[in-house]
Subunit: 332 residues, 2 copies
């Protein structure tokens, strides 16, 4: 059944090249949300998008950009992999609310308000104190709603996340994280957050990054599918999807950039440690994008019916984006 599905991966950051695009296609992926920047500011964000434009030009037989959700459906029809841009931090708008619409015009469809640390908008999940969404953050959420850019709180703190859920007129997303009840981690989410997210019409994308999983790289597919079933009970089957956090072929320097940006002279090891500073070992049943059919099979084995599998594998993401990318306040 996997080939009939619209499969959506709610987050990847790979060292993009044709072989990786080919893997996405082989894995039956219709759309992947790609990180265009972590901590890069405006000028560097334009560079990153320009680099993607070259990819689209060179590999137009294989990939295409998402300028609206119609492009995701078109990609399915054409057998191409569609690419949706997102940012993992709010650095692409610097301190300027006018840049939200500018970035949306460049097809940046989704933006995290924070990445682990305090940002100008909200608080990250690694800070000791979370004072919630800031004054600027409140304005930016309103503006993101207006232009149809999705608020992502994957790396945010608890209070900021609850604030964003309450403040945002459009449902928000946690594109790549897991429940704390499955595996305790700063990056994973409490039942309180997940329940509020589901009730507000939001979506959780389950992460396959070993640091977010029970038993790390040794997490079993059965355990992973159990977690999905339990979260469906908590949030509702319509509010969950995938966000693998897959990072293919990236050197250690990129992991260090994610963790440290330009904010520290001391090395921060994020979810790792000095003794365990490198990329985690991959899961045996999800080595790269070619393994998406394993998840479909895992869900079948766990007793999900075909409709629910279709929802988890991509349909929920598609429905969510149909709503989330709709500008709420552009009258033109």
């Amino acid at each position: 059944m996997h080939n009939d599905l619209i499969v959506i991966d709610g987050l990847q950051y790979s060292n993009w090249n044709r072989a990786i695009f080919q893997q996405l296609k082989e894995g039956g992926v219709t759309m992947v949300h790609v990180t265009v920047v972590y901590h890069e500011q405006i000028r560097e964000t334009l560079l990153s998008i320009a680099k993607w434009n070259r990819q689209f030009e060179m590999h137009h037989d294989l990939i295409m950009p998402v300028k609206s959700t119609a492009d995701i459906r078109l990609a399915k029809k054409l057998g191409k992999v569609s690419i949706m841009f997102g940012a993992q931090n709010c650095s692409p708008i610097e301190d300027d609310i006018g840049m939200v619409e500018i970035m949306r015009e460049l097809n940046l469809m989704i933006m995290q308000l924070t990445y682990n640390n305090q940002s100008l908008l909200a608080c990250g999940c690694y800070e000791a104190q979370d004072s919630g969404v800031t004054r600027f953050g409140k304005q930016v959420i309103k503006e993101m709603n207006r232009v149809g850019m999705v608020v992502d709180m994957s790396h945010s703190g608890e209070r900021s996340t609850l604030d964003a859920i309450a403040m945002s007129q459009s449902p928000i997303v946690i594109s790549h994280a897991n429940p704390n009840s499955f595996h305790e981690a700063k990056r994973n989410k409490s039942d309180k957050v997940l329940k509020a997210l589901g009730e507000s019409g939001g979506l959780l994308g389950f992460s396959l990054y070993p640091f977010h999983l029970k038993n790390g790289p040794d997490c079993s597919l059965d355990d992973f599918c159990d977690m999905i079933a339990n979260t469906a009970d908590l949030m509702g089957i319509d509010h969950i999807g995938l966000g693998t956090d897959l990072c293919q072929e990236q050197p250690l320097s990129v992991l260090e950039w994610m963790r440290n940006g330009r904010w520290s002279k001391e090395m921060d090891y994020g979810e790792g440690s000095k003794e365990n500073s490198d990329w985690p070992r991959p899961l045996s049943w999800f080595r790269d994008s070619r393994d998406f059919p394993n998840i479909t099979r895992g869900l079948q084995k766990r007793g999900f019916n075909a409709d629910d599998i279709a929802k988890v594998m991509g349909l929920n993401w598609l429905n969510f984006l149909d709503e989330g990318l709709k500008p709420q306040g552009l009258e033109r």
Copy 2:
């Protein structure tokens, strides 16, 4: 008949506000090509576009952005003034060919390769020697063709202009200038250039900036319409339009920015002089955008038939843009 026309002004740079938009509407203008930057680089260009986005938001009952030529026709139907972005220099791409597509995605539809001085792309009309389109310039013209951004050579030198006409796959424009045969000026164009422009399918927009006119601010409407008739004979009636170069309510500092950018510590007076350094006195028959119907009447008096008047007042620009804004090489 003026109200039935699609009136297009091929260049204005005003200190934009609601009153000026209202004047455009009263003058029956369907579309105006506005300068978003003179010498501003990437970050400042984004600021300027963001400022325009606020204008569109605040005055959506009156103005709308041009994202394709369909928007110009829609504006006519809705009775709104449509706004097309352009740059008077190539500073918005800095030294980066990838920024051509980025800027086009932000609806920058037209770009001058030079503004009076030598640029990285070509030579301006004020330099002593014009060595033609540069290596980078050649690549950029190709890229502009590919993404559907119009090449404008209004402020360029003769050789560079002839080069651009020959090199560009899509027809190019001289959006605001007049024939040297009407009034000798560095900014006006030789018959050789104008003939080549017409033969290549390009377009000339007649300027109403007094420095480009016979007798300056005292140029008569009859003389102006004579010039149009003579240029129609030279280039063909399908290759001419308007590009008023109207600058409403701008302080002297803006004129100084146009003339000096950041390139000189000595004051450059451009088309003026130390004794005559300020904005020129406006024409009695074209004080602001409300006076477009005067031009229609002038053309009628000069013996142009209704079809030809429609062409000069806007239809030629529309047809030209239908072609010029079409991406030649985006396969996606």
